[in-house]
Amino acid sequence: MGTTKHPRANRGRSWVGALLVAALGHSPVTHAATNDSDRIAVLEQKLDQSLQLIRQLSARVQDLEAQAAHGAPPEADKRSGTAAAAPPAAAAQPGTPAAAQTGAAAPTPPDTAQRLAKVEQTVNQMAASAGQHADEGLATHGFADVGIGNRNAEFPQYQGADIAELDFFLTPRLGSRTRALFELNFEVGSDGNVGVDLERAQIGYQFADSATVWLGRFHTPYGYYNTAFHHGQQIATSLRRPRFIEFEDHGGIMPAHTVGAWLTGSERVGEQKVTYDVYIGNSQRITGGKLDMNNAGNTHGSTIVGGNLGLLLSGALDGLKVGVDVFQTRIEDEDPLPPLPAYVTQVRSYGAYAAYDTDSWEDIAEFHVFNNRDLTGHTGTHHSDAGFLQMGYRAGRYTPYARYERGAFQQSDDYFAAQATGSSYYRTALGLRFDVDLVSALKLELAQTHLTDRVISSYDEALLQYAIRF
């Protein structure tokens, strides 16, 4: 049967079931404190021989062999109300192509077929035995975080305690191919008041595993961080995003959101996996000293166009992702008062990144170069750059991390000069994340920020954040 051989062959076999996370390159870390030995001892008393099961399995194998001989699809594909069966079983065979998910039966040795049939039957039995049912309605999930510090983590002009955000995440089920994603965020802005923002509103169609097209407002897929981490702080190791890739209304100087169309997917190439993103959307503008993604469209029809190509490595480099990205957009600075004309800048960004995410390590490096051209003809072309390096080590429930980030922004470039937070800077930070439980984390961060042009100054921060998900 292809299962564990043991001297006490007449002893019954128990099954231990667990569902595991999706991201294989980022496997879970378990820290169980329960005494499994005692439990196993109890279980042993409950287990006995299973001749009946063997008979059932034999019958089941015959059924499957008969189906395979007639080219019939696996039974699980035809059933409703039963658990995952044939596709998982096929997947359990090392090296089986992913196409097994479609139910296309690959030739399998007889002993493997028996083993898979047993697994299939057991999964079904387990599911039927557990027999729990959940509502099919739209589940509401989200995130929230609060903090305290000698400065506000996002708006350093404030100090004391703060509420940061309450973020609702909705993914209604619309069918096997249609996707939808909405993220509604109640957050405190730079004026200290609570505002509401539809951070993401995407409706998409999955043509294949390797291609999904989205329409709506999404996180611009540049670099690594902006699409690996979103508004929910509980999922991020660090207490806050790097300053230059903060969201637009929190001091970020890159267009974190795009309203438009986005084609994304991945394809396995040998042992590696290639990821890609291609997008086009409304070009952003600067208003009130901040980037705005033009949710309703813009008045001149110009666009942001960009792409991102990544490679997930395997083997000795398992957990490492490297990639490059580029985007170009046309940004209008609407802040100058008439009769001054609006400044228009062609922003072109080239990026490169590497992220190493394993059971123990989370290391991220991301770098962007900006070649911006003043389209109003006043100041010419400008070169700026920004980047960060973050290293974290998962030591059980504790994850200490360190980050260095810097942005060198030409202040003669209106794109940066027009943004309230567009000054050059560098920041060093040391932090500690403590996972209180499955759904909440406490983070402490000590940081020092140096502003190196426009206003030359520095400030220290001691920040505490309590972040949850629900």
Partner: protein
């Protein structure tokens, strides 16, 4: 996963046979090749360890039936951490909540 590995060691010490089923939450990512790589890099190649995938609908249905709660936040999978114990007839014997914490791609 480390907990399951500890359980395997306990079973080995006691001379008990057991099958371990691990079902991926995300069929978009947990394809057979990914599981294969996962097993190889973590030395989880014993034949009594079964790493399964299914269609998205099948995985969701199985998770519901087994009482596992999970939801996806883009690439992140939010999930609880439990181990279910079944006897050789597939009858649920016990559900064990993890006393510690477990997380996924953060």
């Amino acid at each position: 996963m480390r907990r399951l590995q500890r359980m395997q060691r306990d079973f080995d010490r006691r001379g008990t046979s057991a099958e371990f089923l691990v079902i991926g939450y995300d069929p978009d990512r947990d394809d057979a090749a990914a599981w294969h790589q996962y097993r190889e890099t973590r030395h989880l190649t014993r034949s009594n360890w079964h790493f399964l995938i299914g269609t998205r609908a099948a995985v969701e249905q199985t998770a519901r039936q087994l009482g596992f709660e999970f939801w996806k936040y883009d690439e992140h999978v939010m999930h609880d951490t439990r181990v279910l114990y079944f006897d050789e007839h597939g009858t649920l014997l016990e559900t064990s909540e993890a006393a510690g914490y477990e997380t996924t791609l953060r």
